[in-house]
C-alpha cells in the first residue's frame, strides 16, 4: 500500500521539481530540459497507442511537422494560444484519416507503410508549398522564450501522463490492450476496434502536433527537412522501447537517462559518437532485452495488483487423485440469482433464433461453404460435425462476422446480420469461442471478462462490468483466479476463461468451436457438464465437435458437413447412423 502511495505521489512531485529547473538560471539545463520533455512527451504519447496495440507508427514526424507548420504559417494571423488547439485539430483530423485507411494493415507492414506515408506527405507538402508560395521555408519570429517553451512542454507532458494514466484505467485502455493482444478476439467481445484505434491514434497524434507547435518558435526557421525530420519518429520509438514500451513509466524511464546519455556522449566524443552509441546499443540489447524497466518486473503494470504466485489450479488431472469436477458452476440453479447475466428463459421454445439460408463462401477458387441452409431454435444445442476442411469453422466465422458470405443470408432474431462486422454481431448477442484458445497470457482473468461485459453494451460503468465479470467467473468455478494471469492457467481453465468471456456478453446464442478438443477424458466430463448447465438455463448453443460422445450427449440436433455441403441433419443418434456420414466421417463403427 505504501509503495502504491509512493508511486502515485512520485509523479506529481517529479513534475513539480521539473517545473523549478528554469529558475536554475542555467540556459543549458533549460535546453536539456526542453529536449528531455519533448522526447518524453512524444514517447509517452506514442506509447499510449503503440504500447498496448503494438501498432508501431513511424508517421510521428508527419504529425509533428504538421503542428510546427501550423504555427509557421499562421502565427502572425492567429493568437498563439489558439494555435495549439488548431494544431491539435489538424493533427487529429490527419491522423483519423490515416487511421481509417491504414489500421487494417498490421505488423511490419504498418510500420513501413507509415514511414512511406510520412515521406509522401513531406514530398507532397514540399511540392505544394513551392508551387503556392514559391518557397519551402518559413521564418517563425516570436518572443516566446525557452523557459516558456519548457513550461508549456511540462504542462503538456503532465496532461499526457494524466491522460495515459486515466486511459489505462478506463474501458478504452482495456480495449486497446485487447486489440494489441488479439484483435479478432477483441472484436468478438464487442469492441469496436476500428473506432477505438482511430480515436486513440487521433488523440495521440494531436498531442504530437501540439509538441510540434510548442517547439516550432524555438527553431526560428522551419523547412520540410527540419519539420518532418524522421529522426524524431525514430528517436521516440527508441526511447519508448528502451524504456520498456508497455509500461506506464517506460517512456519516462527511457527519455530521462537516454537524452542525458546521448548528450554526454556527444559532448565527449563528437566524432566517434555514432560508433559508441551503436556499440552501447548492441550491449543494451544483449543485457536489457526488455528495456530499462525490465529490470523492475514488479513495477510491471501499475494498474494490476501483483499476480499471486502460481498455484496449481484445481482440476488438473492427476492419477493419484482423479479429479472431481469443480462443483459451483453446475450447482448454481437456473435463474436463482437475479443479478446473473446469464439469460434465463425457459428451454427449447421452438422459435427460430438463427436462420442460415443458401450460404456460400469461396476462398480463391476453393469452395469452403456451398449452398448451406439450416435453422437453430431457441434453447437447443445444435451440433455441426464433419471431416476436417469440410467448412465447419467457416460457417462459424460467417455467422460471427469474421467473413462476409459470397451469397446467402443469415438472419438472427428476425433481422438479417449478413455482412455485419464481428463487434456488431457480438453486441447483438452472438458470442463465440475459438478453436485454438485465444487468450492473452499477460492479462488477468478479470481483465479478459470485464471488456466483454463492458463492450457488449450491458454494463454502463467499469464497476458494474467488474461485478458482472466476477460473478460469471465465480459461477464457472474460477473465483480463485480472478487476478491470475491467463498464461498461468492450465488448459481446462483457459477454456473456461474463454467461455466466461463469451458469457459476459450475455449472449442469446453461443458458438463453441471445438471447445472440448484437447481435453483429456476426465476434463472433458467437466466440460460437458458445464455445457449442459448452460443449456439448463436456456442458452442456445452451436457446437462444433469431433468427439462423438459429446455430440451424442449434448446435442439436440446436428448437421453433418462434407466439402462445404450439408449431407445429413437430425438428432445425433440418427445422423451418426447415416451410412454416408459413417463413410465420409466416422469410418467403420464409432468407438471413439
Amino acid at each position: 500500500m505504501m509503495a502504491s502511495i509512493a508511486r502515485t505521489a512520485a509523479l506529481p512531485l517529479l513534475l513539480l521539481l521539473a517545473a523549478l529547473v528554469p529558475f536554475s538560471n542555467n540556459d543549458f539545463y533549460v535546453a536539456l530540459g526542453v529536449s528531455l520533455l519533448m522526447y518524453a512527451t512524444l514517447a509517452t504519447a506514442w506509447g499510449v497507442f503503440a504500447g498496448p496495440t503494438k501498432y508501431i507508427s513511424l508517421a510521428t514526424a508527419a504529425f509533428f511537422g504538421v503542428g510546427a507548420y501550423t504555427v509557421g504559417l499562421f502565427y502572425e494571423k492567429i493568437p498563439m494560444l489558439l494555435l495549439y488547439p488548431l494544431a491539435a485539430i489538424i493533427g487529429a483530423v490527419l491522423a483519423a484519416f490515416v487511421g481509417l485507411t491504414t489500421l487494417r494493415i498490421q505488423g511490419m507492414y504498418f510500420t513501413i507503410f507509415t514511414f512511406g506515408l510520412a515521406e509522401l506527405i513531406r514530398q507532397f507538402m514540399t511540392w505544394y508549398q513551392r508551387n503556392v508560395s514559391g518557397s519551402v521555408g518559413v521564418y517563425i519570429l516570436t518572443d516566446i522564450s525557452a523557459r516558456q517553451i519548457y513550461w508549456s512542454l511540462l504542462v503538456l507532458l503532465a496532461l499526457t501522463l494524466l491522460g495515459s494514466w486515466l486511459l489505462s484505467r478506463s474501458r478504452w485502455g482495456l480495449a486497446l490492450l485487447m486489440i494489441g493482444e488479439d484483435e479478432l478476439a477483441a472484436r468478438h467481445s464487442g469492441v469496436r476496434t476500428t473506432a477505438v484505434k482511430v480515436i486513440a491514434l487521433a488523440v495521440t497524434s494531436a498531442v504530437i502536433a501540439v509538441v510540434g507547435a510548442i517547439v516550432a518558435p524555438r527553431w526560428t526557421y522551419l523547412d520540410p527537412n527540419i519539420a518532418f525530420n524522421p529522426t524524431l519518429s525514430f528517436m521516440r520509438a527508441v526511447i519508448a522501447l528502451l524504456g520498456g514500451m508497455q509500461r506506464f513509466w517506460g517512456p519516462l524511464a527511457g527519455a530521462i537517462p537516454l537524452v542525458i546519455l546521448f548528450d554526454q556522449l556527444n559532448a565527449r566524443y563528437p566524432t566517434s559518437y555514432t560508433l559508441i552509441l551503436g556499440l552501447l546499443f548492441m550491449v543494451i540489447v544483449f543485457v536489457l532485452p526488455d528495456g530499462i524497466l525490465g529490470l523492475l518486473p514488479k513495477l510491471q503494470r501499475l494498474r494490476a495488483p501483483a499476480a499471486p504466485a502460481v498455484t496449481p489450479a484445481p482440476g488438473a488431472g492427476t492419477l493419484s487423485e482423479p479429479v472431481t469436477p469443480a462443483a459451483p458452476a453446475r450447482q448454481a440453479s437456473p435463474g436463482v440469482d437475479g443479478t446473473s447475466g446469464v439469460v434465463t428463459t425457459a428451454p427449447a421454445t421452438g422459435t427460430t433464433l438463427l436462420a442460415v439460408r443458401d450460404l456460400r463462401k469461396t476462398f480463391g477458387g476453393i469452395v469452403a461453404v456451398d449452398g448451406l441452409s439450416f435453422e437453430i431454435r431457441e434453447g437447443e444445442v445444435f451440433g455441426i460435425i464433419g471431416p476436417n476442411g469440410s467448412g465447419k469453422t467457416t460457417v462459424l466465422n460467417l455467422i460471427s462476422g469474421v467473413y462476409e458470405p459470397d451469397r446467402g443470408e443469415i438472419v438472427f432474431l428476425g433481422r438479417p446480420i449478413t455482412g455485419k462486422p464481428p463487434e456488431e454481431i457480438a453486441r447483438l448477442g452472438i458470442a463465440r469461442t475459438f478453436q485454438l484458445v485465444r487468450i492473452y497470457p499477460a492479462l488477468t482473468c478479470l481483465d479478459h471478462v470485464i471488456p466483454a461485459a463492458l463492450f457488449g453494451g450491458h454494463a454502463r460503468t467499469l464497476m458494474e462490468a467488474r461485478d458482472h465479470a466476477v460473478h460469471i467467473l465465480e459461477e464457472l468455478g474460477m473465483g480463485a483466479f480472478l487476478h491470475v494471469p491467463a498464461g498461468q492457467l492450465n488448459f481446462i481453465d483457459q477454456k473456461r476463461l474463454e467461455l466466461a468471456r463469451a458469457l459476459a456478453l450475455r449472449p442469446k446464442l453461443l458458438l463453441l468451436d471445438e471447445w472440448l478438443a484437447g481435453l483429456n477424458p476426465s476434463e472433458m466430463v467437466i466440460g460437458m457438464e458445464l455445457i449442459e448447465s448452460l443449456r439448463g438455463r436456456g442458452m442456445t448453443i452451436v457446437l462444433i465437435e469431433h468427439l462423438m460422445q459429446a455430440v451424442r450427449r449434448l446435442c439436440d440436433r446436428c448437421i453433418v458437413m462434407s466439402f462445404g455441403q450439408k449431407i445429413a441433419e437430425g438428432v445425433p443418434e440418427d445422423v451418426l447412423r447415416d451410412p454416408e456420414v459413417v463413410r465420409v466421417y466416422l469410418g467403420e463403427a464409432d468407438d471413439a
Binding site: 494493415i105 514530398q123 507532397f124 511540392w127 559518437y273 560508433l275 552509441l277 556499440l279 540489447v285
Partner: protein
C-alpha cells in the same frame, strides 16, 4: 510513341538499381529472417572500398566487384555468427530472437556507419566509370546503369533458381517458413541461414560497387539506401526475389513516366504513393509472400 517507349526503357534500366538494392535485403530479411538495418551501411562500405581503389590505384570497379564479393560474404558470415547466432543461443528460438535481432541490427548500423564516419567524416565520394552510351530500342542509357540492371537480373535469376530448383534452396525456403521447425527436417539452420545472409551480403556489396560508379554518396546516406531497399522489399513481397526485381523495375518506370508526363517534382511522391497504394491493396506484396 517513341518517347513513350523511351520513357519505358530508361525507366526499366534505371529501376535496375532499385531492384539490385532490394534483392540482397529481401534474401536477408525474408529468408535468413534478419531485418538487416545495417544493409545500407554495408553497401556504402563496399562503395567506399571501390571508390578508394579506383582513386588511388586506378583499379577498375569491375575488379573491385570481384574482390569485394568474397570479402563481403565473409564479413556477413562473421557478423551473422558472432552477433545473431549468439542472440539466438540466448533467446532459445529463432522466433523469439526476431525482435531483439532488429534492435541489434539497428545498433550494428550505427557501428558500421559510426566507424566509417570516424574515419571519413561526412565527405562526399564520387567518380565516374563506364559512362558510355548504350543504345537499346532507340533509347540511350549509360552502360553503368545498364550493368546494374543486368546484374539485378542475373542475381535475381540465380537467387530464383537456387531457391526453387535445388534441395538446398528448398531447405532455405523452409527456414524462411519455419526456422524453429526446420531442424526437425535435419536442416542446419545456423549454417544455411548464415550462408543466405552472406549471399545477400554479396548482392549488397555488388550494389554498393555499382552505385559508386554513378552516384555521389557519403557515409550518412547508408540509411536512405536501407530504406529505399526496404520499400521495394515490402512492395515485392518479403523474401521474394522475383518480386523484388519486379517491384524495383516498376518503381523505375513510375519515376520515369511521372518525370516526363506529370512533373519531375512529384517523382518521389509518386514512388511513395505507389508504395502506399500497393501495401494497402496487396498486403503481401506484388507477388505474394511465398518465395516463388
Amino acid at each position: 510513341m517513341a518517347s513513350l517507349l523511351d520513357a519505358l526503357v530508361t525507366g526499366l534500366v534505371y529501376g535496375g538499381v532499385y531492384a539490385l538494392l532490394a534483392l540482397g535485403l529481401t534474401l536477408q530479411y525474408g529468408v535468413a529472417r534478419i531485418l538487416n538495418l545495417a544493409y545500407g551501411d554495408f553497401l556504402i562500405a563496399a562503395a567506399v572500398f571501390a571508390t578508394l581503389l579506383y582513386q588511388h590505384y586506378q583499379l577498375s570497379p569491375l575488379v573491385s566487384l570481384v574482390l569485394v564479393a568474397p570479402i563481403s560474404f565473409l564479413v556477413h558470415l562473421l557478423v551473422y555468427h558472432l552477433v545473431f547466432v549468439q542472440l539466438e543461443r540466448r533467446s532459445g528460438s529463432w522466433r523469439a530472437m526476431e525482435a531483439s535481432s532488429i534492435l541489434l541490427a539497428f545498433g550494428l548500423s550505427f557501428v558500421v556507419s559510426g566507424a566509417m564516419l570516424a574515419i571519413f567524416g561526412g565527405k562526399l565520394f564520387s567518380y565516374s566509370y563506364l559512362l558510355v552510351p548504350v543504345h537499346i530500342l532507340g533509347s540511350v542509357v549509360p552502360a553503368n546503369r545498364l550493368l546494374a540492371f543486368v546484374l539485378a537480373l542475373v542475381f535475381g535469376g540465380i537467387a530464383y533458381l537456387l531457391l526453387v530448383r535445388t534441395r538446398i534452396g528448398t531447405a532455405i525456403r523452409a527456414i524462411a517458413v519455419d526456422p524453429d521447425g526446420a531442424p526437425l527436417a535435419g536442416i542446419d539452420v545456423r549454417r544455411w541461414a548464415g550462408i543466405t545472409f552472406a549471399f545477400g551480403g554479396i548482392i549488397c556489396a555488388a550494389g554498393g560497387v555499382l552505385i559508386s560508379m554513378f552516384q555521389t554518396f557519403n557515409v550518412p546516406m547508408g540509411v536512405s539506401f536501407t530504406l529505399k531497399a526496404l520499400v521495394v522489399v515490402i512492395m515485392g513481397g518479403v523474401g521474394n526475389a522475383v518480386g523484388a526485381l519486379v517491384a524495383g523495375l516498376i518503381l523505375g518506370v513510375t519515376e520515369s513516366f511521372v518525370a516526363r508526363y506529370v512533373s519531375p517534382g512529384l517523382t518521389l511522391a509518386a514512388v511513395y504513393g505507389l508504395f502506399v497504394l500497393a501495401v494497402l491493396t496487396m498486403r503481401t506484396g506484388i507477388l505474394g509472400r511465398a518465395l516463388r
